[in-house]
């Protein structure tokens, strides 16, 4: 009987992608909490998962939900521009400029860009993770990249 691999394998194989996505989505500090919540939710649902599932896309779908929940909570707490908050809490990095610009993108474009390049998902998988059509995912990615190139 085929079954999903031991969870540790899944964790090690995709921790990087999930972290890169969350770091860009909610900022380095909040990424830790979202990362823990993502894998805990994944662990709970894991035994019922279809062994043929695309594990990376599945994990990123969960991570996206956790990131959006986090952004909503934060927005309720502080009614400022999302990007500003994220940029403000981000530690200065060598490529700090790009992360600041990513943080300024509207959430959906930001998610699309990060899912494509941070997590290496295909358009169809991005659409599933965000919960939109493939066409809309393509558009968000395109718009997001265009904006990034303009601001940098």
């Amino acid at each position: 009987m085929a079954s999903v691999p031991p969870f540790q394998q899944t964790l090690e194989a995709h921790a990087d992608a999930v972290w890169r996505y969350l770091r860009g989505m909610v900022g380095g500090e909040a990424a830790e909490d979202c990362f823990q919540e993502t894998f805990l939710a994944a662990l709970r649902a894991y035994p019922r998962l279809d062994p043929d599932s695309n594990l990376r896309a599945w994990l990123l779908t969960i991570a996206h939900r956790k990131a959006i929940d986090h952004l909503r909570r934060r927005r309720r707490g502080q009614p400022e521009q999302l990007g500003d908050e994220i940029e403000a809490e981000r530690e200065p990095e060598s490529d700090g400029a790009i992360w600041g610009s990513v943080a300024m993108l509207p959430p959906r474009q930001r998610a699309a860009v990060l899912l494509r390049y941070g997590a290496d998902l295909r358009h169809r998988e991005i659409a599933v993770a965000i919960g939109c059509s493939e066409e809309a995912a393509r558009r968000s990615l395109h718009e997001g990249l265009k904006r990034l190139r303009e601001t940098l």
């Binding site: 009987m1 079954s3 999903v4 691999p5 031991p6 969870f7 540790q8 394998q9 964790l11 090690e12 921790a15 990087d16 999930v18 972290w19 890169r20 770091r23 860009g24 380095g28 990424a31 830790e32 990362f35 823990q36 894998f39 805990l40 662990l43 709970r44 894991y46 035994p47 490529d95 790009i98 992360w99 990513v102 860009v113 990060l114 390049y117 941070g118 290496d120 990249l145 990034l148 190139r149 940098l152």
Partner: protein, 201 residues
């Protein structure tokens, strides 16, 4: 897609050094709550050991390198795929083992999970678990204690599939003639375990 020389794409793809430690923190936390099985690979005087435990106790103690991945995959299918690596969660067993190797511990007290062990095999392993530290019994004696005096060979096979090396001391079983018999971890390990026990005794 444009080539990876694009500075934006390159930056977005940059490795996340924090991911590894975040994953370790997750695994340790999950071992306390959420995961069903946890494992560790532990250095010992007899080489590296693989330990796997669940909520009820220790399930596997094997010499490595046997195929660690294969063992975990097999447990994922038979028990649960909620398996994480967490040395901290194995602390009670790791501590007792280290004391044992130092000659400072004569019996293991941290719990054992007997769930997968049934029938004659279980009776053989239970009889073996009762052999005192530093003593030797024959396959025939163990078979007799397991309820089948004529099944010395079958008892040997049951011991060969002992999932809990050292803790269930199959190294204390030998031939009635005095021959050392076999050992899954190799006879050299069997001799060294017996030497530890005779030095400390």
């Amino acid at each position: 897609m444009s080539p990876t020389t694009d500075p934006i794409e390159t930056a977005l793809r940059s490795p996340a050094s924090e991911a590894k430690s975040a994953a370790r923190r997750f695994a340790d936390r999950a071992a306390q709550r959420g995961a069903d099985l946890f494992y560790a690979q532990e250095a010992s005087p007899l080489g590296e050991l693989l330990l796997v435990a669940g909520r009820r106790g220790l399930i596997v103690l094997r010499y490595t390198p046997t195929d660690v991945d294969a063992t975990l995959v097999e447990l994922a299918e038979r028990r649960s795929p909620r398996i994480v690596e967490s040395p901290a969660a194995l602390d009670p067993w790791r501590r007792e083992l280290s004391e044992y190797f130092d000659g400072a511990r004569r019996r293991f007290e941290a719990p054992i999970d007997w769930q997968d062990l049934a029938g004659f095999r279980r009776r053989v392993l239970a009889a073996t678990a009762a052999i005192p530290y530093g003593e030797l019994e024959s396959y025939k004696t163990v078979a007799t204690k397991a309820g089948s005096p004529k099944a010395a060979r079958a008892a040997g096979n049951a011991l060969g599939s002992n999932p809990l090396a050292i803790v269930i001391p199959c190294h204390r079983v030998r031939h009635a003639s005095g021959g050392l018999g076999g050992y899954t971890g190799g006879l050299e390990r069997k001799r060294r375990l017996l030497a530890i026990e005779s030095d400390a005794g």
